[in-house]
Symmetry: C2
Subunit: 291 residues, 2 copies
């Protein structure tokens, strides 16, 4: 057997994921505008991009969609909807309206995946169960519009260190539990290595997620954690995460979409974007264990 995935180490290893499945999440090059990020992907032969709503808005939705199409890029996901756990009915209505807008934007941009960061505790409340019920109800309200526009809502479990302030969905299993309450064409889960690598149940939960996996995002867990714990992510290979078994599980579960590299890290943001893109490409082999 020969082929792009063959390294002679044994036929039982799954085929490597090639660079044709690489997507650059634009948060990795945070200081670039949307058109600059698109041009960067083109220069580095990266076939897909994960977009952020603030950068889309800055460019204008129609112009952003046109720029991506003209460049021949695929949009692997739109980041992000969510933040459902508002304190009062007005806040929740506003969150709903904002999420409906995000679904429409995703459709216009040509991606079928809207990533959800669901929100932390309801302000002033310590009740985790309440927050989780608010999230479930809010997702349910979005399902008809998601189905109508062919956009899947990707519930992303965030690392438990963000449970209080950003996302009360703290493990992949919990995200899968939640997703399974809704139709598969409307709600799925995001597997992000940074947030879930530590979980002893991870392999089981990835298998259980199966075709509900709508996005696979990768970056590494780097120690020590920085002052702003949001920014402790690193290039693949700079930290402790063993990507190969996670990727093998995601692949075995049936996921065949793009693999988004999404790195929140002040040093990476300050690096020359072309160097960042080159590093992302170089390190990508390690995602499927071919380092």
């Amino acid at each position: 057997m020969t082929g792009p995935g063959h390294d002679g180490a044994g036929a039982e290893r799954p085929a490597a994921i090639g660079l044709d499945r690489l997507s650059l999440n634009q948060a990795t090059v945070k200081h670039l505008g949307l058109k600059e990020a698109v041009a960067l992907c083109v220069r580095h032969d990266i076939p897909a991009i994960g977009l952020w709503r603030d950068r889309v808005a800055e460019t204008g939705l129609a112009e952003a969609a046109a720029a991506v199409r003209a460049a021949g890029l695929q949009v692997s996901s739109l980041c992000r909807g969510g933040f459902f756990t508002q304190a009062d009915p007005d806040g929740r209505r506003a969150a709903r309206a904002d999420n409906l807008a995000a679904i429409a934007e995703a459709a216009e941009l040509g991606t079928d995946t809207l990533v959800l960061v669901c929100g932390g505790l309801v302000p002033g409340q310590r009740d985790l169960g309440l927050a989780r019920r608010v999230v479930a109800d809010a997702i349910g309200e979005l399902v008809p519009e998601a189905q109508r526009l062919g956009v899947r809502l990707g519930i992303e479990a965030l690392h438990p260190m963000f449970c209080a302030d950003r996302c009360v969905i703290s493990s992949l299993g919990e995200a899968v539990d939640l997703a399974l309450r809704f139709p598969a064409d409307a709600v799925g889960v995001v597997v992000d290595t940074y947030h879930i690598w530590w979980d002893a149940r991870l392999a089981d939960q990835i298998a259980r997620a199966g075709r509900r996996i709508v996005s696979y995002q990768v970056c590494d867990w780097v120690l020590p954690l920085p002052q702003d714990t949001l920014l402790g992510r690193g290039h693949v290979g700079d930290g402790v995460i063993d990507f190969a078994p996670i990727t093998a599980g995601v692949t075995a579960a049936g996921y065949d979409g793009y693999v988004e590299v999404e790195i929140f890290n002040a040093e990476v943001w300050d690096a020359p974007p072309d160097r960042t893109a080159a590093t992302v490409r170089e390190r990508f082999a390690a995602v499927s264990g071919r380092r």
Copy 2:
């Protein structure tokens, strides 16, 4: 019904845990030596103390045991054994010897509980499964001595943000899975609110832990996280944790031992110890939801 736990809110509420079950973990007053911490507990009518091995060693084991006994204090636990995931056989032998010594110290100090912080990834290895097997094997090796001396090893799940560098046991469920592989008189679990409050499976896992719970430690999760994420803990009530349902679960599971207040926080450490002890007592009512 009247009694110390009755507040008129309804007979269905479990009885409050009284101050007769309060223990001060000496890490909360980190700058005090063992005898000073003992005197502080006596001054504030705190009936038990959780000891740390470094402070015991500094005082001398026999002298520490005598000081605690003379003060009429109970020792709710000894912190800590563990750190099993050494890179080589020599390191693992040294860890074993150190843990055997810790078991003997616990027995000499008159506590039946040795808290284990199991260790992070094996140095140079990204393999979480390997680290977890090393931990399980190491605990198994300690069981006969723990049984001989009547000391239970308390597996503490640490928050997943410490998975890489301090403890690969990252959820209570995982700690229970591990404990159940060993005899109940030798191995149990520690429930520490700071590390596990976020877990959607928490209530189920506390119930499943049942009589395996050998220690209940409390402190609050305070945002923002500080630069040193080890130190982001707060007095009960200063953060987001809803203690009452956790305490109710631990009580329903059959735990009737001391409740240790253990706070790692640079500001708390710098505060006058008498003020800290007074705050610990004042806030304790909130542990069982009577704030």
